[in-house]
């Protein structure tokens, strides 16, 4: 088997293993055999007796399964969006978190919680905020440099992030009593249940499909805009399409799971190390590995301090931040 084949098989196995573990482990432990049989029983034309009690079956299908699916979806989306941004900006550190998406969503969600005082509008607000944040950073980056220099775009993202975070903090301080709810959302959570899964899925499918179909063109863009143009590719148009798709993926992930950092930069980078730099491989592998990574992180988040739960964003940051520094060092070495 080729290196790519091994990598794909490995990512698929890791995802399956993390998801199975995610279904079994928790306050009430479920046996592997019971879980497998109960899942098989739900398939059409299959009759299987899982031996699980009705309570256990309820835990499996109403709590664990949506949680694992949402985790896999959010993780996969954040990772594939990160890989997409990295291709567009030719910057291995580009990440949904870094480009104003997270800050935009943070602001709009805080606004909804503070002004409306309830959680009804949160998903929609997160969606609009994430998309708005990235578009703001993109627009600012484009006007700052004619033709859109790549470093400028990332710096614009940082500026937008600081600005939006400042407004958000201001709003937060106005209503100190809502602070805890805002924080809970900011730190991320994939326990939203079937509602969140159903809401997130259509956007996830569309965004991921568009991103996966642009792997070849992102490879062309990686040789620079002038050469991509000389090869007959409209670089600006490809960049815009990928940017919109990655932002849609980010918005879907953020609205369903809150602000979970570092998945978008850690996963694509690890994938690149293992399977080479072609976006045709990096994008689909990031989708799989990102899902595995986040389901695994969620597993840690809800077992480490059991029965209390750790916010999942804490786990990803704990793993991701040191990793980020490693990438930064490696990138600097290449440049000098």
């Amino acid at each position: 088997m080729t290196r790519k084949g091994v990598a794909f098989a490995g990512a698929a196995v890791a995802l399956a293993a993390c998801m199975t573990a995610g279904l079994m482990v928790g306050a009430a432990g479920l046996p592997l055999k019971g879980v497998v049989l109960a899942l098989a029983d739900r398939l059409p034309f299959v009759e299987a007796h899982s031996g699980l009690t009705p309570l256990e079956t309820g835990v499996l299908f109403e709590l664990r399964l949506p949680r694992v699916l949402l985790g896999a979806m959010v993780g996969g989306l954040l990772a594939v969006a990160g890989a997409g941004y990295q291709g567009v900006f030719r910057n291995p550190l580009a990440d949904p978190y870094l480009l104003g998406a997270a800050a935009g969503a943070g602001l709009t969600v805080t606004l909804v919680i503070v002004v409306l005082g309830d959680g009804v509008g949160v998903p929609l607000a997160a969606f609009c905020g994430a998309a708005g944040g990235v578009l703001l950073a993109y627009g600012l980056g484009r006007t700052a440099t004619r033709g859109g220099g790549t470093a400028t775009l990332v710096l614009a993202g940082v500026a937008v992030t600081s600005f939006l975070t400042a407004i958000q903090t201001f709003l937060q301080q106005l209503k100190v009593e809502e602070l805890q709810r805002v924080y809970a959302w900011i730190l991320g959570d994939v326990g939203g249940g079937w509602d969140q899964v159903v809401m997130c899925a259509p956007y996830a499918v569309v965004a991921a499909a568009i991103l996966l179909l642009h792997g070849r063109l992102l490879d062309v863009l990686s040789v620079g805009d002038d050469e991509a143009s000389s090869l007959g590719v409209r670089a600006g148009r490809v960049r815009l399409v990928v940017l919109v798709a990655a932002s849609l993926a980010t918005a879907a992930a953020v609205s369903a799971g809150g602000l979970i950092g570092f998945v978008g930069v850690v996963v694509p980078h690890a994938v690149r190390r293992l399977a080479g730099g072609s976006y045709r491989v990096v994008l689909p592998l990031s989708l799989l590995a990102g899902g595995a990574f986040l389901v695994g992180a969620d597993l840690i988040a809800r077992t480490v301090l059991a029965p209390a739960e750790l916010p999942i964003g804490v786990v990803t940051a704990f793993v991701g931040a040191p990793f980020f520094v490693t990438i930064l060092r490696a990138t600097r070495k290449v440049e000098t």
Binding site: R146, L213, R216, L217, D219, V220, S222, V223, G224, D226, E227, S229, S230, L231, G232, V233, R234, R272, G276, G277, S278, V334
Partner: protein, 258 residues
């Protein structure tokens, strides 16, 4: 295919970089664009490739490049910039295959024929042994050949090469220029290249275009363009020009005697 440049002007950031440049690169011949730093040589190549907006008319094989769809243009003109961006972990084969981009539909992927063309080009440039190697692990001479391979995979009748010998030692400069010359003769390619080394330009090019301050100041056979008077005036250098191999001029720097 003949490239015809007529009255081309380019403004970059409100500053005129090229003014009224006219030149012809005839089919199957090598036109070298020479001139001091900042003369607008690279910009002229970019204008031909359609990478910068320009006034005036540029035609390739009689068709104005301005109206061409990007993919059609990419099938007529292949371009190698002065310092190409080589993604460190892309392999030589993957990189060469990028040259097939103008033949692949937007949502499509490479056909068996595209892979075969890339393989044949690598074979022709003695790069087959390096096909699986990542670009970051190539020497300067190998990189230049790999960039050339990508341009050839494009199978365009016109090659635009911006300083193909920068940062190469003497032997590798000769190797690359010999290679371009061989390909030009074998395939009937039209080559337009900028070259900063005047003697090398005189050795390899059929025609020279001397640019200075954004204008074309002389054009013709090497012997006509490389005169002591013109080089002194436009490069601000003290030189003596002698006859080299095959009657082509050789430029020597002359150290001022104290």
């Amino acid at each position: 295919m003949t490239v015809e440049i007529t009255g081309v002007g380019v403004d970059l950031g409100g500053r005129p970089v090229l003014r009224g440049v006219s030149a012809v690169a005839r089919e199957g011949r090598w036109l070298a664009v020479i001139g001091p730093n900042g003369a607008g040589k690279s910009t002229l190549l970019k204008a031909v490739m359609g990478l910068v907006p320009f006034d005036g008319v540029i035609t390739v094989g009689g068709r104005p490049v301005r109206g061409l769809a990007p993919r059609d243009r990419a099938r007529m003109l292949a371009y190698a910039p002065q310092s190409p961006l080589l993604p460190p972990d892309m392999t030589v084969h993957e990189y060469a295959l990028l040259g097939r981009t103008p033949y692949i539909p937007y949502w499509g992927r490479e056909s068996a024929r595209d892979t075969e063309v890339a393989r044949a080009v690598l074979d022709r440039l003695d790069l087959t042994g390096l096909a699986a190697r990542p670009l970051e692990r190539l020497s300067g001479g190998e990189r230049q050949r790999v960039v050339l391979a990508r341009a050839l995979t494009q199978q365009a009748p016109v090659l635009l090469l911006d300083e193909p010998t920068t940062a190469l030692d003497l032997g590798h400069q000769q190797q690359v220029l010999e290679l371009v010359d061989r390909l030009r003769r074998d395939d009937g390619l039209t080559v337009v290249s900028t070259l900063h080394d005047l003697t090398l330009a005189a050795q390899y090019a059929d025609d020279l275009l001397l640019m200075s301050g954004g204008e074309a100041v002389a054009a013709g056979a090497p012997g006509e363009v490389l005169t002591e008077d013109l080089v002194t005036r436009h490069f601000g250098a003290r030189v003596s020009i002698g006859a080299g191999p095959a009657g082509r001029p050789v430029v020597h720097l002359r150290r001022p005697t104290t």
